[in-house]
């Protein structure tokens, strides 16, 4: 197979025939889709349908049993894993912030490449996620919504091209949830990020996604524009 693939203009990431089989069961089966710049793609399904497992294949935290992913047309197995994960950022359901202050969390990703974020860059990132002035706050004193915003800012500090969001609001109250959803929309609209949002919440998918992939038992049940697949 060639390492480079032709794909529609604007496509950043394309998954082709992704499957993951663990002893005794197939958790993802032959899933294909693509996502373009400035687009929010929803991966929707019930609990246990393989949504999160699929997401982990996209930044190669797990290895697909078959199939692959193309990033900007290049087979991701040809991209060093650390570079791939910088370019395909991930925000998890639980934020898993590192002990210390907010600024040190934001500086973690760039520091892995020997880069250092200036105070101004930290300030801008925090302003972007609605937490100006939080740089010196200890992460242990933050609320759930604030922690998730820091987690998002920490991923954005790596300047990713694709943003993977694994149920980022499932543990948050309604107000915090609305705030994070606004941020995701802004990331796609204003910064041209390709966002892949995993959610079990169909209303959230309707509010935020342009297109959706509906999963059931690891397989694609249906995919297309959000209103076509999920209805109004």
């Amino acid at each position: 197979m060639s390492g480079n693939e032709r794909q529609p203009p604007g496509t950043v990431l394309r998954a082709e025939g992704l499957s993951r089989v663990v002893p005794g069961k197939a958790i993802v089966s032959d899933v294909s889709f693509e996502v373009g710049r400035g687009e929010v793609l929803g991966i929707v399904g019930a609990s246990g349908s393989g949504k999160s497992s699929l997401l982990r294949l996209l930044n190669r935290l797990d290895e697909p049993t078959t199939g692959t992913v193309y990033l900007d047309g290049k087979d991701y197995r040809q991209i060093p894993p650390r570079e791939l994960r910088r370019r395909v950022g991930m925000v998890t359901q639980r934020p898993f912030l590192f002990p210390g202050d907010v600024a040190s969390n934001l500086r973690f990703g760039p520091a892995q490449r020997g880069e250092s974020l200036t105070d101004e860059e930290v300030w801008k990132l925090l302003e972007q996620v609605g937490l100006p002035g939080f740089a010196s706050h200890e992460v242990s004193v933050l609320s759930g919504g604030e922690q998730q915003r820091v987690s998002l800012a920490r991923t954005l500090a790596n300047r990713p091209e694709v943003l993977l969001l694994d149920e980022p609001t499932s543990a948050l109250d309604e107000q915090s949830k609305a705030g994070i959803e606004e941020l995701i929309a802004a990331m796609a609209r204003d910064h041209g990020l390709a966002c892949i949002l995993v959610t079990h919440d169909r209303d959230q998918a309707r509010r935020n996604c342009h297109r959706v992939v509906l999963l059931e038992a690891g397989r694609v049940l249906q995919s297309g524009p959000v209103m076509e697949v999920l209805g109004a």
């Binding site: 663990v22 958790i27 497992s53 930044n59 190669r60 935290l61 797990d62 290895e63 197995r77 894993p81 650390r82 570079e83 994960r85 910088r86 950022g89 991930m90 998890t92 639980r94 898993f96 590192f98 973690f108 990703g109 892995q112 490449r113 920490r154 991923t155 790596n158």
Partner: protein, 262 residues
């Protein structure tokens, strides 16, 4: 009492072993009454223990007539067995037996070799085998503790480790601190042994030396020497095994392999 019943030394030894085992089984019975079931593990361990130690005793009896260098073979066999036993503490980590064997071989082997070369351990089989085996056994325990702790730490912090990987960190950067805490906790028994030496316990080797007529002061100092050697070999073993095991829990594509069921 037993001495009058068993005039032969071997029969006396076996009778003493039976009495000690019965006492251990009484404790197992008491544990059972509190719903702690040690029957199988304790019985198998007692049986294995007596068979193994009698086998070693027989080999030692043969080796006493063998040339001094032949003890190297017995110590090597002990290292291989120690590697395989302590690797069981690193369940689901591929290559744990190899890592354990190499670490114990270098940690215990190097310390034993240096101390023998320096004249601290006598090259006589009756000295090299017992002291060498104590060093290997303690390195095995420390290695088992270090790998067990490392495994628990990784399993308890899968989220943090994968978050760091997802942010572009190297595998070593994501688990370095868990390896450090594993080394630290694995060495607590060896350090506590050194701290409490003579106050809380008088080790077996010193007891043996006293029973065989050594001067108490020399027996005491030599016991300190052995415990210090154990600390050195255990520390080196733990450092090596936790360093080597880190590479075993990641794939070539920097994916964490040791985690709970998907």
């Amino acid at each position: 009492m037993l001495k009058s019943l068993f005039p032969s030394e071997i029969a006396l030894g076996l009778a003493q072993a039976v009495v000690a085992s019965l006492l251990a089984l009484v404790v197992v019975f008491l544990a059972r009454r509190r719903n702690i079931h040690l029957e199988k593990d304790a019985s198998v361990a007692l049986l294995r223990g007596i068979v193994q130690i009698v086998a070693v005793g027989s080999i030692l009896a043969l080796l006493l007539k063998a040339p001094r260098w032949s003890s190297v073979f017995l110590l090597t066999a002990m290292i291989v067995a120690a590697g395989s036993i302590s690797a069981k503490r690193a369940k689901n980590i591929p290559g744990a037996a190899k890592v354990s064997t190499y670490s114990i071989a270098i940690g215990a082997g190097l310390v034993t070799a240096i101390m023998t070369w320096a004249g601290v351990i006598d090259t006589a089989i009756t000295s090299l085998i017992p002291v060498g085996s104590m060093i290997i056994a303690n390195a095995m325990n420390t290695n088992g503790l270090a790998l067990n702790r490392f495994r628990s730490e990784v399993l308890a912090h899968t989220g943090e480790i994968e978050t760091a990987l997802a942010l572009g960190a190297t595998p070593q950067a994501t688990i370095g601190r868990y390896a450090e805490s594993s080394i630290h906790s694995s060495l607590i028994p060896a350090i506590d042994n050194l701290r409490s030496l003579g106050i809380v316990w008088i080790p077996g080797l010193m007891t043996g030396m006293l029973l065989s007529g050594a001067r108490p002061m020399y027996a005491a100092i030599y016991q300190f020497v052995v415990i210090a050697m154990i600390l050195a070999s255990s520390g080196l073993t733990s450092l090596l095994s936790t360093t080597m095991i880190q590479a075993q829990v990641f794939s070539p594509a920097d994916q964490l392999l040791l985690k709970g069921a998907e």
